[in-house]
Amino acid sequence: MHEWSLAEAILEAIIPIVKHESAGRVSEVEIVYGEMMELELDILRFALEELSKGTPLEGSRFMFREEKASFRCNSCGYKWDFEQAHDTLPEDLGIREGTSGDRESPIHFIPDLAQALMRCPSCGSRDFEVESGRGLRIYKVVLEG
């Protein structure tokens, strides 16, 4: 559910640009997000549409592009993806959603904790690199007027 918070963050980052460029509205926004964020895009899109009402982003087209996560072990050189990484995460750690009571993985809220909670699937080392798939960035904003 923290998608609402992310939506606010995205809008708060774009609105000053619209003002700075003296544009009337935003027609298109492209967001690149890391696979490690485990985003629920339907909720994020809905939150963006709701929160942008009455702002220059109302009616804007929101597009999303996922950057796949990849990892490389510094000890044995093994490379792996997020699906494989997921299998190594401990199942006893979770954060409870206040509204639904469901348990979410901590990495849903802090994606980089994946790096703290997993190991190289090949040799078990915790010393590895996240080569891609973290964070969220606003890749493109198309202004009008």
């Binding site: 923290h2 980052a13 802090i110 994606p111 960035r137």
Partner: protein, 257 residues
């Protein structure tokens, strides 16, 4: 374009009335105990207070308060549990007993999300338990708080010459990055024994203080009962001398404005 998560983290910090960093040049000088005691004293005085544990590799705030319940999330993100009247947040609440070997960009990104995703609500005072030294976390925090006049640092050290020499490097960094330093807290300064007051690590001399333009805000004793209190889950019952010094320290901070 600014990273929207980091941008949100900064906005959340800007909304807090007063932010106090508790920083040290090296580990083992009592930084987390000071941060926890100061936050507790602030909450007891009626300020809406948060305590943020930024020590990624050794998060100890949950242990100090004996809190190990499951963390709960709301619509906006993580809800800090309220313990002894203050709101706590720490990566330790999310990783259990696992080591946290984050580095470089992963560390900065994790801190950014932690700050951006925590729902503090309205806070009068946020005490930040900093990691020791001048690494990624300290630089991240200084960047997040740059140009915010609601923030300042307390530097904690023991009177030992080794601790002082390390803390001088931290003071240098804080100054260079424009962070206000309220002053020094001298920890493990004395111990009361057999009717005498002993200073096993010596004293911080006036030369050191005048060289850095700082003063001692509080001198804290070695008090073995604090460890006992933590073990029994009664940290909030601060011992007399300690509590008096915390009240005085809080007065100093409030007085700075």
């Amino acid at each position: 374009m600014e990273d929207p998560i980091f941008d949100r983290a900064k906005k959340k910090l800007r909304k807090v009335e007063r932010i106090t960093l508790v920083a040290s040049g090296k580990g083992g000088v009592g930084k987390s105990i000071l941060a926890a005691s100061l936050a507790l004293t602030s909450a007891n005085r009626g300020y809406r207070t948060g305590l943020l544990d930024l020590d990624i590799h050794g998060p100890s705030i949950p242990n100090i308060f004996g809190f190990n319940d499951e963390l709960v999330a709301g619509k906006e993100g993580l809800i800090p549990p309220v313990v002894n009247g203050l709101k706590l947040m720490s990566l330790g609440l999310m990783v259990g007993g696992n080591p946290v070997p984050l580095k470089g960009e992963s560390k900065r990104s994790a801190l950014s999300f932690l700050l951006a995703m925590t729902e503090w609500g309205d806070l009068d005072h946020l005490v930040i338990d900093m990691p020791p030294g001048t690494g990624d976390e300290t630089l991240f925090c200084l960047r997040a708080l740059r140009n915010m006049d609601n923030a300042g640092a307390i530097v904690i050290t023991t009177p030992s010459s080794l601790s002082r020499s390390v803390v001088a490097r931290l003071i240098g960094l804080l100054r260079e990055e424009g962070m206000r330093i309220y002053g020094l807290v001298e920890n493990m300064a004395y111990i009361k024994c057999c009717g005498e007051t002993l200073r096993p690590f010596g004293s911080i001399d006036d030369d050191f203080l005048s060289r850095y333009g700082l003063r001692i805000l509080a001198s804290l004793p070695i008090d073995l009962s604090i460890e006992e209190r933590i073990k029994k889950g009664r940290f909030s019952e601060l011992p007399g001398d300690f509590r008096y010094q915390m009240e005085k320290l809080l007065d100093e901070l409030v007085g700075v404005g």
